[in-house]
């Protein structure tokens, strides 16, 4: 009995002496702060030349702007991470200022050329007739939607009808950059 008591006393003494062992290293509950940022949407288009001027063209003549290289370059930028599209159209047929005669839209043509984008240029390096409805020129890849500028180059051509009336004809070429909903 005496030996048991001695044993218990020794054990408790050891435990007491090792009080520090029970004082295990403390750690507070974590303090959390919620962090947030809203990264602004970038979705824009620019063009380096906003006038497509063929100058004097004779009836029956074909004239090409940008031959061998390009006439103007559209720059598209999106950081929306989604596929976007570039479309082109003519607001109206080429219309004479004095006589109000019209040259049909299909006599004015565009040719989508080089791009640095990774998407698809529709009818690349082919002259396409303008229409008053939008035509797809470029379908981007998702890699084109991380804010890098994507360049798309164009040539233009006009074929004045043999019976075209002398006049100053004009129309507006419309480029549209859009995403599908």
């Amino acid at each position: 009995m005496k030996s048991l008591k001695k044993c218990i006393v020794s054990l408790i003494t050891v435990i007491a002496a090792c009080g520090g062992v029970f004082a295990f290293a403390e750690e507070t509950p974590p303090v959390d702060l919620s962090a947030s940022v809203s990264v602004k949407l970038l979705f824009k288009m620019d063009i380096d030349k906003s006038v497509i001027s063929f100058g004097r063209v004779l009836p029956g003549e074909w004239k090409n702007l940008g031959e061998g290289s390009y006439y103007n370059q559209v720059t598209c930028q999106s950081n929306n991470g989604k596929i976007w599209y570039l479309l082109i159209s003519l607001s109206s047929p080429l219309t004479g200022a004095r006589h109000n005669e019209k040259i049909p839209a299909n006599k004015l043509k565009y040719m989508p050329g080089w791009t640095n984008g990774t998407g698809t240029v529709h009818d690349q390096y082919t002259f396409k007739e303008f229409g008053t409805e939008d035509s797809y020129v470029y379908t981007s890849n998702v890699e084109d939607a991380i804010a890098n500028p994507i360049y798309i180059q164009f040539q233009y051509g006009v074929n004045v009808p043999d019976n075209g009336t002398a006049d100053d004809y004009s129309a507006t070429v419309v480029y549209t950059m859009m995403e599908m909903l």
């Binding site: 008591k5 218990i8 006393v9 408790i12 003494t13 435990i15 007491a16 009080g19 029970f22 004082a23 290293a25 403390e26 750690e27 507070t28 974590p30 303090v31 959390d32 702060l33 919620s34 962090a35 947030s36 940022v37 809203s38 990264v39 602004k40 949407l41 970038l42 950081n79 929306n80 991470g81 939607a145 991380i146 804010a147 890098n148």
Partner: protein, 158 residues
């Protein structure tokens, strides 16, 4: 038997004495940068600080404050690399040492040491640590709302 009881009582007292105060709190619980454009750099805290931690220990031991983020700033599947998100430990009334004081340090997913307490910080006084934050938006960052959690821990182990 009487001796055993006294010894047990001593052990209990020892244990009670060990249960000191060891706390940390913050005066602001968010780090909101609002709207930023690609290429922008924004600091939160201006000329002073954005948030202040209050640490208290009565344990008489050296303690440490560490910081990390639970994940990079994330929006869906897109993230902003931690190297663009930074914190700056600033002023303290403590007597310990602030690591990289007044310097912007990139966050990491692994805890980084911010403060090592001094001898006078361990006796129950409030020790304040102030912080600023900075974020830049990388060139190719996709638009969206990015979130994460900044976590502070106060511990007695390194």
């Amino acid at each position: 038997m009487k001796f055993i009881f006294i010894t047990l009582l001593l052990v209990s007292i020892t244990t009670i004495c060990l249960a000191g105060e060891f706390t940390m709190s913050t005066d602001t619980s968010n780090v909101s940068f609002g709207e930023m454009a690609i290429g922008d750099w924004k600091e939160l805290g201006g000329g002073t600080y954005h948030n202040q931690l209050t640490c208290k220990s009565t344990n008489g031991k050296t303690w440490y404050v560490k910081i990390y983020v639970l994940a990079p700033l994330t929006s869906g599947t897109k993230t902003i690399n931690n190297s663009y998100f930074k914190y700056m430990p600033g002023w303290t009334n403590g007597t310990g040492s602030v690591q990289n004081q007044y310097s912007f340090i990139a966050f990491s997913g692994i805890s980084s040491l911010v403060y090592v307490s001094g001898p006078d910080d361990n006796s129950g006084s409030d020790v304040y640590l102030q912080f600023k934050y900075g974020l830049s938006i990388p060139a190719n960052q996709v638009a969206g709302i990015y979130n994460t959690t900044v976590r502070y821990v106060m511990t007695e182990t390194l």
